[in-house]
């Protein structure tokens, strides 16, 4: 029998893309997506995230939820790097419509056009939309 620290199983690695389109606190989608992202990453899968439409608000700097009695989970996006989740993409048009720039975001991202995002999406094994 193997020791517990040796029982890492090498399984198939698939390309997972999570498409985040909802703002963070009005619905539970953003938080649920983040949890699934962490679990998927913990299983050593190839994970990428897209933030588009109101999803770009999930990674807006300066969130302070003290007044609404909900957990501020925005710091967790900064933990993704430690999970080797480094492919974070943001839809350029969504940012512009909302008067936001890359400087307003709390993690490093790649800002892409919809055509470029469509190509990336096309390249995935699994696409999950939240």
């Amino acid at each position: 029998m193997s020791e517990p620290w040796e029982d890492e199983v090498e399984g198939p690695v698939k390309k997972f893309m999570f498409v985040n389109r909802k703002s963070p606190y009005g619905t539970v989608y953003a938080l649920e997506s983040l949890e699934v992202v962490l679990i998927t990453a913990a299983f050593d899968q190839d994970v990428s995230l897209v933030f588009s439409d109101d999803g770009v608000y999930q990674i807006k700097k300066g969130q302070n939820t003290d007044g609404i009695g909900m957990k501020n989970f925005s710091p967790t996006y900064r933990a993704l790097e430690g999970y080797d989740v480094e492919k974070l993409y943001v839809d350029k048009e969504s940012l512009e419509e909302r008067g936001l720039t890359e400087d307003d975001l709390l993690v490093d991202v790649e800002v892409l056009s919809r055509a470029e995002l469509a190509d990336l999406m096309d390249d995935q094994d699994v696409v999950l939309s939240f």
């Binding site: 909802k22 703002s23 963070p24 606190y25 009005g26 439409d53 109101d54 608000y57 807006k60 700097k61 300066g62 969130q63 302070n64 939820t65 003290d66 007044g67 609404i68 909900m70 501020n72 925005s74 419509e97 909302r98 008067g99 307003d104």
Partner: protein, 102 residues
């Protein structure tokens, strides 16, 4: 006395704010709460419709919902007033009735 409308949906995701504005009578108030606060911000594709409605309607935004989403008072369209939960209650009491747009 006038009506207080509340809108809790993002103007980028639903047409709730449009519907509300189109039916809000002159002199009434619109309070933006939860994801509705995104309608209160300067420099977005929704700014113009709120700005132009402000000649007839008074706009308020709920501060705690604004801050939760990483926004501050400086980012608001000029003339929109920030209220806290107590202010929300006051608005409710001051107006004749409330319509909560969903």
């Amino acid at each position: 006395m006038a009506m207080l409308h509340t809108v809790n949906k993002s103007p980028f995701e639903r047409n709730t704010l449009d519907s509300c504005i189109s039916m809000a009578k002159s002199g009434s108030s619109i309070l933006l709460i939860e994801d509705g606060i995104f309608g209160a911000l300067k420099g977005t594709s929704a700014t113009d419709k709120v700005s132009s409605a402000m000649s007839n309607v008074t706009f308020y935004v709920l501060g705690p919902d604004l801050n939760a989403r990483g926004m501050t008072e400086e980012q608001l369209i000029d003339g929109i007033k920030v209220v806290d939960y107590e202010g929300f209650v006051d608005l409710t009491a001051e107006h004749e009735n409330v319509q909560a747009w969903l």
